[in-house]
Symmetry: C2
């Protein structure tokens, strides 16, 4: 389909600029000529999530308090890209820091748009297997993570019962299960 | 697992407060006593997405420019909750406004956490079938949406090839396909 109707940015300024959050405000002209004075965009280097299977075939999950939603959530190991870091480097670092596991190779499975109206970054997700608990966890002081190992059928049950409920993680887990042939089409 | 390690909010103030974006800054005390001076949280009434099948069994998609990511994306009909609106009311309104379709009943399939570190809202997704193009689209002036009708196999192909790439929509589509028995477990 056509992609001709882009918006034109007339002016931009930063309204929040911290190490964890950077938001710019744009004045934009729509294709119909209308001007919007305060369109906010969150600038993001993006983040990664890792579907990591251990030597025993279990999947590594994190159980962690998150202050935006104000409660504990069950997720894949994940984290934001640091400056000058590639997605795969970020995946290796986050897996080690958050779980202590290391793996020989990280397979890139896909990339998602995080929030197309508001965020300019992408989410990248990786698959690794035969991971070993060789490293020592190095947790960010803002994070206190408990790890949990689950079988693939248990992982699917956690998704189906809403125990794994964070949007990007649900999307990544279903996609990995699909691409790795753990689901079958009916038709 | 235990849920004892919550953070304590000591102070809060609004740093952005517009009709489309509201962000508060909190001063918080972590369980280890550490103080964070500027933890930002986006306040959100949440949003909905609708997996809508027509009388012919096709799924209704939107093709729309989104200025956060700066390009066109293919998504389910979706939108943010208005003040005092329930999720199902929002789903009915958004489907009509964005596609002109109406359906007898909307089945709630699930709820996702949007971004647990940063956003306090939820995403709700609905399933409806036998929808008819009875209404007239009422597009927000900031939106210019083209609708596209696809078969379920084509929808799965769009997911698998990354043509549908927005995190929350991928999560909702896989979940609906799974709950509605369009996928089978191998094990």
């Amino acid at each position: 389909m056509s992609e001709t109707r882009l918006w034109e940015t007339i002016k931009r300024e930063y309204v929040i600029d911290t190490p964890y959050l950077r938001i710019r405000k744009e004045k934009v002209r729509l294709p119909n000529g209308q001007i919007l004075g305060d369109y906010h965009i969150q600038e993001s280097r993006g983040w990664v999530a890792i579907f990591c299977k251990t030597l025993q075939g279990e999947v590594v999950l994190n159980w962690e308090y998150k202050h935006g939603i104000g409660r504990y959530v069950l997720e894949l190991p994940a984290g934001g890209l640091e400056l000058s870091e590639t997605p795969v480097e970020c995946a290796q670092r986050e897996l080690l820091e958050e779980t202590g596991y290391v793996a020989q190779s990280f397979e890139k499975i896909g990339t998602f748009v995080i929030d197309p109206s508001y965020v300019d970054g992408l989410m990248h997700f990786f698959y690794c297997k035969n991971a070993r608990p060789e490293g020592k966890k190095k947790i960010d002081p803002r994070e206190k993570i408990k790890n949990r190992l689950v079988s693939v059928p248990d992982l699917i049950a956690l998704i189906r019962t809403g125990k794994i409920e964070v949007m990007g993680h649900v999307a990544a887990i279903y996609t990995v299960l699909d691409r790795k042939g753990l689901w079958e089409k009916k038709f």
